[in-house]
């Protein structure tokens, strides 16, 4: 049995008398540790599918079974527990909480799990180091660039070592260079911890990072292709993941006159 199974999934929105068929009939299987890209044009139903996979929305019909649990049948309370234990989420618009600094934002999923502060901070710090933002841990989201914010978002999604991470156009607001950095970072994290990543995008270049690409058109799967990514973290020319990012961070900070912490 596959790690994630989607069977006969449908979603219909009713707007007055009009019915919007966001998802018509989706069947899908995703293996553990796989990086799966859901690719489609705007309005094709990608986000709807992802939200249902993440348990944020109820399907009109059909089942979603993740790790043996049929999440479409779970109560709101059990869904929250399921999300806490199994999933991470990366948003297009980062969705960090502005009143908390980077460290606190990253530690948040751990806080919901009841991890005590000292342990939480240690893990969050390690995560921030991995995404190369160690020196920014006391900064608030509005004091960081989009790329930096998204890396905090990635650290937050991975900090609790979930089984699966969902990302809805995580690079939608970033430039090409940063997009590549962020994508590589996500891939490395998934490989490192054996985490399944489900990624929504309309960008073919991003789909290149995936092991499998699911094409969606008008709420229907129109093709599933296995794919070999041209990016292999093992062969990354830079010495190591965290070091590489730390370097990007440093070069970024050279252009930042407000930065004084760094020697």
């Amino acid at each position: 049995m596959a790690f994630i199974e989607v069977k006969n999934l449908r979603k219909v929105y009713k707007l007055g008398n009009e019915k919007v068929y966001a998802l018509r009939k989706i069947d899908l299987e995703i293996e553990k540790g796989e990086i799966c890209c859901i690719l489609g044009t705007s309005g094709s139903g990608k986000s709807t599918l992802l939200n249902m996979l993440a348990g944020l929305e109820k399907p009109t019909r059909g089942d979603i079974i993740i790790n043996g649990t049929n999440i479409s049948k779970l109560s709101e309370k059990k869904l929250a527990r399921f999300r806490q234990e199994n999933t991470g989420f990366i948003f297009q618009s980062y969705n960090l909480i502005n009143q908390y600094n980077a460290l606190e934002n990253v530690g948040m999923p751990l806080m919901f799990k009841g991890v005590p502060p000292s342990k939480r901070d240690r893990q969050a710090e390690k995560m921030l180091k991995l995404v190369g933002l160690e020196s920014r841990k006391k900064h608030r989201p509005n004091q960081m660039s989009g790329g930096q914010q998204q890396r905090v978002g990635i650290a937050r999604a991975f900090v609790a070592k979930p089984n699966v991470v969902f990302a809805d156009e995580p690079t939608g607001n970033l430039d090409t260079k940063t997009t590549d950095d962020v994508m590589r970072l996500m891939v490395r994290m998934c490989r490192k911890y054996g985490i399944t990543l489900i990624l929504v995008t309309h960008d073919l270049e991003i789909a290149d990072y995936a092991d499998r690409i699911v094409h969606i058109t008008d709420g229907e799967v129109t093709g599933i292709e296995d794919h070999v990514s041209s990016y292999d973290p093992e062969k990354d020319n830079e010495a190591g993941a965290s070091e590489k990012n730390a370097e990007t961070e440093r070069s970024a900070e050279k252009n930042d006159p407000g930065q004084t912490e760094k020697k």
Partner: protein, 468 residues
């Protein structure tokens, strides 16, 4: 999610919106202040009332008078209580046992009056000075302190000397007349001399010897007084103490001797005069001291159920407390309105706060925060506003209370028709009132936060995180 994490989150949220939090807290401060001050005024009034009633009589005492009246005896060759009702229980030792076993009675003070006709009281050489009206009361001399009597001269009697001890009321020494003189020269009066000291009576009080002689009812002198019983029917007492005048005016005109001595005098009189069927001696008065002012009514009832006529302040106090209760309720009601307004403003603040934090709540839900935790966070926030308001309100109430007390009783208490004796407090804030205020304001906060918290819980995670 750990409790302290939720608490920290609340505090940060409150701190983030300092201004608004402050305004809301001020609402609660005013409300709780109003409640505390109003209740403290009510307590002050009832305290003032008790102080006032204390000058009318001991509030914790239930007093039983023999025969229901003044406890008078009529001696016409014999002795009989005036009791017209044969069913009435006798106020004797048996009765004492029953009375002292009533719940909440901490101790009882029986008194036995020696009827004035039974004895003649004299002092000085050749019995020169004679007491005009022999008001002798037998009482346990060792508990005079407990009865709140204080010595003006001499010492209170002790177990050693009580059998022959005699305690003077503040006025009685002046009621000895000089049998050798006539007219006004035969009498003394208690009056203050120009140098501030009191005038002296004829007799020596502390250290003096007083003779109590039992009258022979069959043999009268020419002046109508009875002759003494003679040898074996005379007792010598030594004056030990002169009491200060007690506020209830119970003792000034009495000579106090030990109750056993009084009993003996009465039985000797009965023997000398061949009184038959005297039975057990009866007490003229029994005072029950009740452990708490709130139990006086119950004890009073219990005493009446035993068939005795009792006097206590319970009824008067209840009536006055009842009137006070009405005033207090009106005051409390007014205060409660301001607390209601505070509650509404807490709700309003919380709704606004949730409005602003919709997205944050959504993110928290997506990241796996339990809805229960979200509810607790918002309830806590509202509760904290209440508690904070309660704490500040309590502090301010103490200040207001202190100011009112230092301004004195003239203003407010007169306004409500309660007269306070000097030293009375206008406003009293006991510990329970502080605790009550804190709990109450917190509960008000929690109740006000209930609806907003439910709203926060119902926010759809998806709607909240959708890109605007």
């Amino acid at each position: 999610m750990k409790i302290y994490d939720m608490l920290i989150m609340c505090l940060r949220n409150l701190w983030r919106r300092k201004g608004r939090t402050l305004l809301t807290v001020i609402g609660v401060v005013i409300g709780s202040c109003a409640v505390i001050v109003m209740i403290s005024l009510g307590l002050g009034m009832s305290q003032a009332m008790d102080n006032m009633m204390e000058t009318w009589g001991d509030l914790t005492a239930v007093t039983i008078y023999n025969g229901g009246g003044g406890g008078m005896y009529y001696a016409d060759g014999g002795m009989s209580t005036q009791s017209s009702d044969k069913d009435k229980p006798k106020l004797n030792d048996e009765a004492l046992a029953m009375l002292s076993s009533i719940d909440h009675v901490s101790y009882i003070i029986p008194k036995m009056e020696v009827p004035a006709e039974m004895v003649t009281v004299v002092s000085g050489k050749n019995d020169r000075y004679k007491l005009t009206w022999a008001n002798i009361v037998g009482v346990d001399l060792l508990i005079l302190d407990k009865m709140k009597y204080t010595a003006e001269q001499g010492e209170m009697p002790t177990a050693k000397n009580k059998d022959s001890a005699l305690v003077f009321g503040s006025e009685i020494a002046y009621q000895f007349m000089d049998t050798k003189k006539h007219g006004s020269a035969a009498f003394t009066y208690k009056q203050q001399l120009p140098d501030g000291s009191w005038s002296k009576p004829f007799i020596e009080t502390v250290g003096g010897t007083i003779k109590i002689a039992i009258n022979n009812s069959k043999k009268q002198n020419e002046d109508g007084s009875y002759q003494y019983g003679g040898k074996g029917y005379e007792y010598k007492f030594t004056g030990t103490t002169v009491l200060q005048q007690d506020p209830l005016w119970e003792t000034p005109n009495s000579l106090l001797i030990d109750i056993e001595a009084a009993k003996k005098i009465i039985s000797d009189y009965n023997r000398l005069n061949n009184v038959k069927n005297a039975g057990n001696p009866e007490y003229s008065q029994v005072k029950l001291s009740v452990d708490s002012i709130n139990n006086v009514e119950a004890v009073h009832k219990a005493v009446e159920e035993l068939g005795f006529n009792a006097v206590s302040m319970a009824k008067e106090r209840n009536e006055m407390q009842g009137q006070l209760g009405v005033i207090q309720m009106v005051l409390g009601g007014l205060a409660a309105i301001s607390l209601l307004v505070a509650a509404i403003s807490i709700t309003n603040t919380m709704i606004m706060s949730i409005y602003e934090r919709t997205k944050e709540i959504g993110i928290m839900k997506v990241l796996g925060c339990f809805i229960g935790n979200i509810r607790i966070i918002f309830l806590m926030e509202a509760g904290l506003i209440g508690l904070l308001g309660g704490i500040i309100g309590t502090i301010i109430s103490f200040i207001i209370s202190a100011v009112m007390n230092s301004l004195g009783s003239s203003g407010l208490s007169d306004m409500f028709g309660i007269y306070t004796e000097g030293g009375g407090q206008v406003s009293i804030i006991p510990v329970w009132l502080v605790l009550l205020a804190l709990v109450f304001s917190t509960v008000i906060g929690l109740i006000s936060g209930f609806y907003p918290a439910n709203r926060a819980v119902r926010i759809s995670a998806l709607e909240a995180i959708r890109n605007e």
